[in-house]
Amino acid sequence: MAMLEVQGLIKSFGGLTAINNLNLAIEEGEIVGLIGPNGAGKTTFFNLVSGFLKPDCGKIIFKGKNITGLKPHVICRKGIARTFQIVKPFPKLTTFKNIRIGAYHRSSSNRKLIDERVEEILNFLGLEEKKNMLGSDLTIADRKNLELGRSLATNPKLLLLDEIMGGLNPVEQGRMINVVKRLNQEGITSLVIEHNMRAIMLCSHRIIVLNYGEKIADGTPEQVAKNQNVIKVYLGDQENVRD
């Protein structure tokens, strides 16, 4: 049984069909890259899975249970955490408090255990020295880190990462790739939206390509890189190339 299964998903905004009859499955333990040109429907897809949008049609099944149309906080508690493309740290709260807010609803309500868990996440992401800084004072790299840390605090089984490497320099990107891989070793399945091809090729086991809300390719990074449809979408038709 797939961890996340999406069947016949459709979502349109007015006349624009952002997601058009999408079917896909994510197995437990995978890192799946989700790529596609701007406006392909990647973020809309995340919004649908995490409950911020309701689909017009279709089903979203997580660990065998239908979660279509549930509210975001309910979906989060079922084990799907997301980050936002435009990071949303709580600007007037410290890094520590930002992460603790995600950690509250874990099984234990013991304050000490919660604080220990927060420290653990801070250490894991290398944010311990910045734990008393306000969200608004962090650099973009740290904000992306914090965004990830907060999601991790909710104890997710499936992580939806929306361009967490956007705006990072190559060193920071490398660090983030390692973090995603290490989380994967700890048993967290990830679905990653990314525009940076190098990064996505390095960390994904499988890549799904969207274009105009439809899946046009699904396979290993090597397969996808050679796929004619994908090349066409990214680089345009051969006939249109003039010399």
Partner: protein, 317 residues
């Protein structure tokens, strides 16, 4: 490294303030005690508002609704059925809480935020004001005059102001403790998260609708208790005193001035604004309306230069 901050000594400062406030009235005339009582009433009401407006970021422009419900409930129960205002106060609080939950549910369920929520709460207060003006039970525009029975604790009536003074001081100690409890618990963190970014809060598993309704229910309950106290202190209520727009403004002015979403913000704000308003009234009494203009200027300056209020300033020192 921690900054040396005046705010770190807030426990000491507040202890000293409390001690002073306890002893001081013994040396004061009745006029000054009256001023202090009004300062403390609005410090208390402002702190009640702060739970919803300051911590949760849901800016209510109609807290007069809850104030009026508290005042009218206890007064009507006392005048019609002879029920002690102390009991009426709790019942008024509960009624006000249900109305708060109702208003909260209607507004938050349909996603009213910021100015739209403020306008909706204002509209509710106006509805209650118009209703109170037209229903015989509330005495219409005449209001209700509470019959004097002499000093009696069960009747919540005292001939000496000093009793009222200590009661409202106790109210303030109570609300500071409540706010402190909220701030240092999950509830406080959740409310702040909702204020800062509702989508992010929702994505982290917070049932934002539920917590906003919890905030408005606490806030409306506490505000109503202040309404009862006010009625018992002045012995007279009417629709405008209770449900009027000016009352809503009085309530949220102090926490904004003192520091939104802080334990002592409303208290400090009231402690500064109260005497300032009296002083300007006294000094410029000859020029009608002058003191309000000066007061307005002070407010504008504070809001521009101290966006985080007096508490924000103290934290920086």
């Amino acid at each position: 490294m921690r900054k040396l901050s005046l705010y770190r000594y807030s426990y000491v400062l507040m202890g000293v303030t409390l001690l002073l406030l306890t002893i001081l009235p013994a040396f004061m005339g009745s006029y000054y005690i009256h001023i202090l009582i009004l300062i403390l009433v609005y410090a208390y009401l402002g702190s009640s508002w702060n739970v919803l407006g300051g911590y949760c970021g849901q800016f209510s422009f109609g807290h007069a609704t809850f104030f009026g419900l508290g005042a009218y409930t206890s007064t009507i129960l006392f005048m019609r059925f002879g029920i002690s205002p102390w009991i009426g106060m709790v019942l008024g609080g509960i009624l006000s809480m249900f109305v708060g939950i109702f208003i909260g549910f209607i507004c938050f369920r349909y996603g009213l935020k910021g100015p739209f929520f403020a306008l909706a709460t204002l509209a509710f207060a106006e509805m209650f004001r118009v209703a109170a003006l037209n229903i015989p039970l509330t005495g219409k525009a005449m209001g209700i005059l509470i019959t004097l029975k002499g000093t009696s604790f069960p009747a919540f009536q005292f001939q000496e102001k000093i009793y009222y003074y200590y009661i409202i001081l106790a109210f303030n100690v109570f609300i500071v403790l409540v706010t402190h409890l909220i701030e240092n618990r999950k509830l406080g963190d959740y409310l702040e998260a909702i204020k800062e970014d509702e989508d992010a809060a929702e994505a982290l598993g917070i049932d934002t609708l539920r917590y906003k309704i919890i905030a408005i229910s606490i806030s409306s309950f506490l505000t109503a208790l202040g309404g009862t106290f006010y009625a018992q202190y002045l012995f007279y209520i009417d629709p405008d005193i209770c449900f009027g727009v000016h009352n809503s403004i009085e309530i949220f002015m102090r926490p904004i001035f003192g520091g939104l979403g802080t334990v002592y913000g409303a208290f400090l704000g009231s402690l500064i604004l109260g005497p300032l308003s009296e002083l300007t009234r006294g000094l410029l009494g000859g020029y009608s309306g002058m003191h309000l203009m000066l007061f307005g200027v002070v407010l504008v300056v504070v809001i521009i230069f101290l966006p985080r209020g007096v508490v924000g300033l103290l934290k920086k020192i």
